[in-house]
């Protein structure tokens, strides 16, 4: 279909011409309250609102020996709290959320904990959901009996996870790639066993305060209503507290001989699981866009990446193979991985390594660069076409201190990426003699 191929160039030229009805929605900065920053995107078409509170209280703050503390501090917030009208037990909280037709979700990543509310925007329902979340956020109960129950459940889940190849691989890879950085340590039955209700209360008191929080709101509320939501959420949260020592930065993975960088884990699964990677960049790094475009070509671009072509399309070695950068406020990591039946592990690792090595050495071809930019630019509307995705974007922009016009200029930044920038950025940040490698399952 030659017509389609010609079309490719036309799409590139015509991109960015959103019709005016679909201008990219602006991010409004709301009033700061109690030390927290807050942002709003108004979307009026559906009678619903999504709210996220990011708390600088991620896994990286787990004390040595108590890995899993940050996770549990967040996860147990909905199992009892003191609200404006007295104590609420876990059953009352769960019933109230259900009665409102709302959801309140808690999750914890390496950098931050997040509390997310999804509610209908009707004022009476929305107010009750926000009040409930405010109670959880400011005064969780951490009842010792419930803490004990949840510790046991967590330990049971961890012991189960330790029988799964993907979990064992990921845990070992983190240890290799993060070195002395706190994220090297994963929760274990042993570390969870040392956590008690006092630890949870202390961690909560130390980290859950206004100056460590950011609120992002997307949906059917105006500026006045959004400011009111922020105030209700954070009213009982302390504004600040004792200084918390900054975590030392994540240093670049050191050059080491292969024998020091590669780990083999015997595992009697049918497939070998392989991970390879090293430390990389922050989201605010000026080379973020060259790396984004380059990784699309190398292993991020679904069915059309080089890794997919070499490993799956040409050789049928794996169902899934990919690579990604995970940049955050701190330097994140680059990681690539695949799974293949055991007797093909050495071959698959060789193909993956040489594909990455060649890309670092030679960079992309001009046509690959055009195809990558074409996909990323033409596909940008799909990254912001609903409330949930907008919330992801706003919250990431706020968390990473990016400019508020990030969504408006995103495609321009992709368009500006040159071949040299991609090649230089990959050579600057990645190096084969620094890659940590974990191979699980394969018998050599």
């Amino acid at each position: 279909m030659p017509a389609l191929r010609n079309a490719l160039r036309i799409f590139l030229l015509s991109f960015g011409v959103f019709n005016s009805a679909h201008a990219i929605l602006p991010i409004e900065k709301l009033d700061s309250y109690n030390g927290a920053k807050a942002y709003l995107v108004q979307t009026k078409t559906l009678p619903m609102v999504d709210i996220e509170i990011s708390i600088d209280a991620g896994d990286r703050y787990d004390p040595i020996g108590k890995s899993g503390l940050a996770d549990m501090t967040a996860a147990l917030m909905n199992y009892g709290a003191r609200g404006s009208e007295g104590a609420l037990n876990e059953a009352q909280i769960a019933d109230e959320i259900a009665d409102l037709g709302a959801t309140i979700g808690l999750s914890v990543g390496g950098e931050r904990a997040t509390l997310r509310i999804r509610s209908l925007s009707r004022k009476d329902l929305r107010d009750r959901a926000v009040k409930l979340a405010a109670a959880m956020l400011s005064a969780p109960a951490y009842d010792p009996k419930i803490v004990e129950r949840e510790k046991q459940r967590t330990i049971t889940n961890l012991l189960e996870a330790e029988t799964k190849p993907e979990y064992v691989l990921e845990r070992r890879f983190k240890k290799s790639v993060y070195g002395d950085y706190p994220l090297a340590y994963s929760p274990s039955a042993k570390s969870i066993a040392t956590v008690n209700a006092v630890d949870l209360k202390q961690f909560h008191k130390q980290f859950y305060r206004g100056d460590r929080m950011i609120v992002s709101i997307v949906g059917d509320v105006d500026r006045v209503q959004a400011n009111e939501i922020v105030r209700t959420l954070l009213q009982k949260v302390p504004e600040a507290g004792p200084a918390i020592a900054k975590i030392p930065g994540l240093p670049r993975s050191a050059v080491e001989p292969l024998a020091q960088r590669e780990v083999q884990i015997p595992f009697d699964s049918q497939q070998a699981h392989i991970a390879m990677g090293m430390t990389a960049v922050t989201r605010s790094n000026p080379d973020y866009f060259p790396l984004l475009v380059g990784n699309y070509i190398l292993g991020g671009g679904g069915f059309v990446s080089r890794l997919m072509a070499e490993v799956r399309e040409k050789r049928g070695l794996a169902y899934s193979v990919s690579s990604y950068f995970a940049p955050g406020k701190d330097a994140g990591i680059f990681q690539a991985g695949l799974q293949t039946k055991n007797d093909q592990a050495a071959l698959a690792l060789e193909v993956m390594s040489s594909t990455i090595a060649k890309f670092i050495a030679d960079g992309p071809t001009p046509s690959e660069l055009i195809a990558a930019k074409s996909n990323l630019m033409n596909g940008y509307p799909l990254r912001i076409d609903n409330n949930r995705k907008l919330l992801d974007n706003v919250s990431s922009i706020a968390w990473n201190d990016l400019p508020l016009d990030t969504m408006d200029i995103w495609t321009k930044q992709v368009e500006a990426v040159s071949l040299e920038q991609v090649t230089n950025a990959f050579q600057k940040y990645l190096a084969m003699d620094r890659m940590r490698i974990v191979v699980l399952g394969a018998k050599r």
């Binding site: 799409f11 009665d99 009707r122 015997p266 069915f303 169902y319 799974q339 996909n375 033409n378």
Partner: protein, 455 residues
């Protein structure tokens, strides 16, 4: 509970327990039938300049025959391997070039393909998808590579995954004759013996406009879409489809049990009962709705019955899940799945589940419990509309089960009329041993030892 079934209607606002703001209007949805039998459904949603384009074929693993299980899914993979005009791999490159996201999925009931694109790129993906409806042309070498990929997929998702192995054994035990007893991915031995010709036969048999429904949702003008669809899909010839044998599962006459030994730390237990589903044309049957609501009462929120009693109070299981799909082509099961709490046995878990069900059967449920689930269903219909893709999914899966997208509103209204007594009644009638299958995972130590790792 499958929540993608239903959405809000204006009619409902009057009788809903809370008054809700506007949802989708059926005026936003348009249905057309091409002369070659292809059905087109267009859902207008102008919130953002994007479109989801899906084609659904009413051919899933339930249409396979013995010895060729997995062929529906294998063909799904081969659909990316080229036509007379578009060489292998080119389909994905062209979709990528217009910024599209694409994939495909196979179930027991259907096989579906989709692309999500910025709206001005819709014609491109329609052209590509229509082309591979009748012009697929892959060579044997491509097949031989791709069947290896599919076997890797099976290793990843099933062979090395004890929960999947348990589920596979459970389905093969619960059903004697229904093709639902076979896994969608296929048995490994069938994959090892599959030939390119099997995939080609499957394609020739089932891929036809008269066996397909195209669903397009997003920022589109339905008239324009119809023109484009006529132009490309309209050019594909209809042909006669193979006869589908009913293969009705004979009634079960007592408990069936199966045990699976696989590497794990903890035992798992799945209990499943044969229950009715909603039949097309019989939308007033109360029982399927009552069963849907029963799943919510048992497991619909954090303080629902089974989570509260089994996980929090008795601490006999670590997790519990309840499943039932009111809508499907094949027979239906009401499922309760659990993993044991540390030190608890499968027998203890089963006793606790039976006790909780017995209490519900004897004493019924509270009006407040049921109302909570109904509110959840209503609010989910608003949230669902946040996703253009989700709307196309809802329409397509409903159509594939033999219903019309127009039935969705009616089902939602009907759901709101169900009483606590009706929920109690289906529990009493169907959650009984005659139709019960029990599968247990007996955990085996995995031969692995991180301390033996070598550098």
């Amino acid at each position: 509970m499958r929540s993608n079934l239903l959405r809000i209607t204006f009619l409902l606002f009057a009788c809903a327990p809370l008054s809700w703001a506007a949802g989708a209007d059926s005026a936003d949805t348009h249905e057309y039938r091409l002369s070659n039998g292809l059905k087109l459904i267009v859902r207008e949603d102008h919130r953002a300049p994007t479109v989801a384009h899906m084609v659904w074929y009413r051919a899933g693993s339930m249409d396979e025959v013995n010895g060729k299980t997995g062929v529906a899914h294998v063909l799904e993979h081969m659909m990316f391997k080229g036509t007379e005009k578009v060489k292998t791999g080119e389909f994905s490159r062209l979709v990528a070039a217009v910024g599209g996201r694409e994939n495909a999925f196979t179930s027991r009931d259907y096989t579906a393909y989709f692309q999500q694109v910025e709206k001005s790129k819709l014609d491109t993906v329609i052209q590509l998808e229509a082309d591979r409806m009748s012009n697929l042309n892959f060579d044997d070498a491509e097949f031989l590579k791709e069947i290896q990929v599919v076997m890797e997929e099976r290793r990843l998702r099933t062979e090395d995954n004890p929960s999947s192995l348990l589920n596979e054994a459970f389905m093969a035990t619960a059903y004697m004759s229904s093709p639902y007893r076979h896994p969608v991915v296929g048995w490994m031995n069938d994959l090892q013996n599959m030939k390119a010709a099997d995939a080609r036969d499957w394609y020739r048999n089932w891929y036809a406009p008269n066996n397909a429904t195209v669903v397009i949702s997003g920022d589109v003008d339905p008239k324009q879409v119809l023109q484009t669809v006529e132009k490309y899909y309209g050019a594909v010839d209809a042909h006669e489809l193979p006869v589908r044998k009913p293969q009705i599962e004979p009634p079960q006459k007592g408990i069936k049990q199966i045990q699976v030994k696989a590497p794990a730390d903890n035992a798992q237990l799945t209990m499943g009962w044969k229950v009715p589903k909603l039949e097309p044309g019989k939308l007033d049957d109360v029982e399927p709705y009552a069963l849907e609501l029963l799943t919510g009462v048992l497991d619909g929120y954090d303080n629902a019955r089974l989570n509260r009693t089994l996980v929090k109070q008795e601490k006999v299981v670590n997790d519990v899940g309840v499943g039932y799909d009111m809508i499907s082509r094949g027979p239906e099961l009401f499922l309760i799945s659990t993993t044991m709490a540390k030190g608890k046995t499968v027998a203890q878990a089963q006793a606790s589940i039976r006790k909780a069900l017995e209490e519900l059967k004897q004493k019924g449920i509270l009006e407040s419990e049921l109302k909570r689930i109904k509110v959840r269903i209503l609010s989910d219909q608003i949230y669902k509309r946040d996703s253009i893709f989700g709307q196309a999914m809802e329409i397509g899966s409903t159509e594939m089960a033999g219903f019309s997208w127009k039935d969705i509103d009616y089902m939602l209204q009907k759901m709101q009329t169900i009483t606590p007594e009706q929920v109690q009644s289906v529990a009493k009638k169907y959650l009984i041993d005659e139709g019960l299958t029990i599968a247990t995972l007996d955990p085996q130590a995995r031969q692995s030892d991180a301390s033996k790792e070598s550098k």
